[in-house]
């Protein structure tokens, strides 16, 4: 811990957020998580012939926040996009290996990317509210696309309210639900996108550098939100910001040039990295 505190500008924040739960996090984590949520085995992803990630095998535990860190271009986002089968939406892309979510293999014959994505919410770097929809319809957007939720159509308002509450946005927007989502600030838009992802009650939420385009205050709100999400959902967050990983995650994976170097409880990874490359990265020697 000392090592990383000395070099990181955000060091003063870390003890405040991390310290109270460091003990519980460590207690929960053993060498192998007891309740795995996402298991990737020998996962590789390609753009054309160039691999973006190579042979990644990892286990992400249920109801915890797992952060993926690494220098830009190391394949963090690609790894994330393999978990909800978004990687294949790009031209000339290919995925090898297998990903299992809660016991279901999501690649393979007869599986549907659309069905997988309904269980796995995703939030992107930049807020992506649908510009033609109101705040309310944005949050309900995922429900409308889901055949399972036809029955739930009657209490859409209830679901919308609940999702906005969880995203910490309800108080700010409750009087303007019918206004265009584009009238919100950037930080509000991003929380709207989180609410939209939560409304369908996914089992996993993927966050791809969700605070990259936000101001510090909005960033703090989103981080607090992520911290609370673990109660109900498995979270995987990609971040280029080590302090953020330290603040919000239970476990951290370090990726370098497409390879998974190390995956360990966050505390352990930042204080006593096993691999010299991890140590080099977190002490700021490259990246």
């Amino acid at each position: 811990m000392l090592q990383s505190i000395e070099v990181s500008p955000g060091a003063r924040v870390i003890p405040r957020v991390v310290a109270p739960r460091a003990a519980s996090a460590e207690a929960r984590e053993t060498a192998t998580p007891e309740k795995p949520c996402i298991i990737t085995s020998h996962l590789s992803a390609f753009f054309g012939d160039a691999p973006a990630i190579k042979d990644v095998s990892m286990v992400v535990p249920q109801q915890a926040v797992t952060a993926i860190i690494g220098p830009s271009g190391c394949g963090k986002s690609t790894l994330l996009r393999c978990i909800n089968r978004m990687h294949e939406t790009g031209p000339n892309t290919r995925v090898d290996g297998q990903v299992e979510i809660l016991g279901s293999a999501i690649y393979g014959d007869g599986t549907s990317a659309t069905a997988v994505r309904r269980h796995v919410g995703m939030v992107f770097q930049r807020p992506t509210p649908f510009p033609t929809m109101s705040i309310r319809t944005n949050v309900a957007a995922g429900l409308r696309a889901d055949p399972r939720s036809r029955l739930a159509q009657e209490n859409v308002d209830e679901i919308v309210e609940k999702a906005l509450h969880r995203a910490g946005l309800w108080e700010e927007v409750k009087d303007r639900l019918n206004e265009s989502a584009m009238t919100l600030s950037g930080g509000q838009q991003q929380r709207l996108c989180i609410a939209r992802a939560l409304a369908t009650r996914p089992r996993v939420i993927l966050l791809d550098e969700p605070t990259a385009s936000l101001d510090p205050l909005s960033t703090q709100k989103v981080e607090e939100l992520v911290y609370d999400l673990r109660e109900t959902v498995t979270v995987v967050i990609v971040t280029h910001n080590m302090q953020q990983a330290a603040r919000v995650s239970d476990r951290t994976a370090f990726l370098l040039a497409g390879e998974l170097i190390e995956l360990a409880p966050t505390n352990a990874l930042f204080t006593a990295p096993m691999d010299p490359r991890t140590e080099a990265y977190i002490t700021g020697r490259f990246g």
Partner: protein, 282 residues
């Protein structure tokens, strides 16, 4: 070696020439509009819109049948051209780099440059010759075929402007591809697509050549799709090349109405573009 002064003098006069070009290029439109208004307004009255064409040598009369005919022809053309054009435009934007997309894109451009008279004889061989008579359907078909490449290209262009991030957001939310395309991508670009559709309508509304051997024209009232039908541009043409002053006057009035329709649609297209990404629907 030219002197500095000579070089600056040349520069100044060439720039002056571009100003002159700007004046000369805008002059024809202003002249045409001025003549249309002066000559057309003289014989334009309410009865022009409500009455049938009068016999030779009689002043007055109207083009009610031709105005209605043009509206019917435009409707048929839209019924054919809009769905196919928009569908093809969606295909081009979804499958951007597929070989088929490349050739469809190229052939749309080629089709856009096809002389309208060629489209007319094509529609004749396909829709008139086999059934043995001219019809509104054949005229509308020819115009609809002209609309397809126009709408295809503008639709693709408008869809291309929609950020990929929106597509991805919808897909990640569990939207199937068709739904992502329709209720997010197309919906977001709807104003632009509508603009493209209006521009295409404005373009075909004044077309005459494709109607010569398809819709043919009709001096009488007819709204039947299987009969020859009157159209404003055809009527203007017939009256313009006739030998009677009364008919010439009617032609000017018809041209004023036609260009007003075209300009109103073109202006509407501009207004729609401006309200792009407007208020939410609900």
């Amino acid at each position: 070696m030219k002197t500095r002064l000579a070089r600056h003098w040349i520069s100044g006069s060439m720039i002056g020439l571009t100003y002159l070009a700007a004046v000369l290029a805008t002059l024809p439109l202003l002249l045409i509009l001025a003549h249309l208004i002066r000559k057309g307004a003289a014989s334009l009255s309410l009865s022009f819109f409500t009455h049938m064409p009068g016999p030779v040598g009689e002043t007055g009369g109207g083009m009610a049948n031709a105005i209605v005919g043009t509206l019917i022809l435009i409707s048929i053309a839209c019924a054919i051209g809009l769905p196919i054009g928009i569908g093809a435009g969606i295909y081009l934007s979804e499958k951007r780099s597929m070989p088929l997309a490349q050739s469809v894109r190229f052939l749309s451009d080629v089709l856009n440059g096809l002389p309208s008279i060629v489209m007319g004889i094509f529609a004749w061989t396909l829709l008139v010759r086999p059934v043995g008579h001219f019809s509104a359907l054949a005229g509308g078909g020819a115009l609809g075929a002209m609309m397809i490449p126009l709408v295809t290209r503008t639709t693709e262009e408008m869809l291309r402007v929609v950020p990929t991030s929106l597509r991805e957001a919808a897909l990640a939310l569990g939207y199937p591809r068709w739904r992502t395309s329709l209720s997010v991508v197309v919906r977001t670009a709807l104003a632009g697509i509508a603009t493209g559709a209006l521009v295409a309508v404005a373009r075909i509304a004044g077309e005459t050549a494709p109607l010569l051997f398809t819709a043919l024209g009709n001096q009488f009232w007819s709204t039947s799709l299987r009969e020859p039908i009157a159209a404003l541009p055809l009527q203007i043409f017939a009256y313009a090349i006739s030998a009677y002053d009364e008919w010439h006057a009617q032609a000017w009035a018809g041209a004023l109405v036609l260009i007003s329709i075209v300009l109103v649609i073109s202006l509407a297209a501009r207004v729609v573009t401006r309200s792009k990404f407007g208020a939410p629907v609900d």
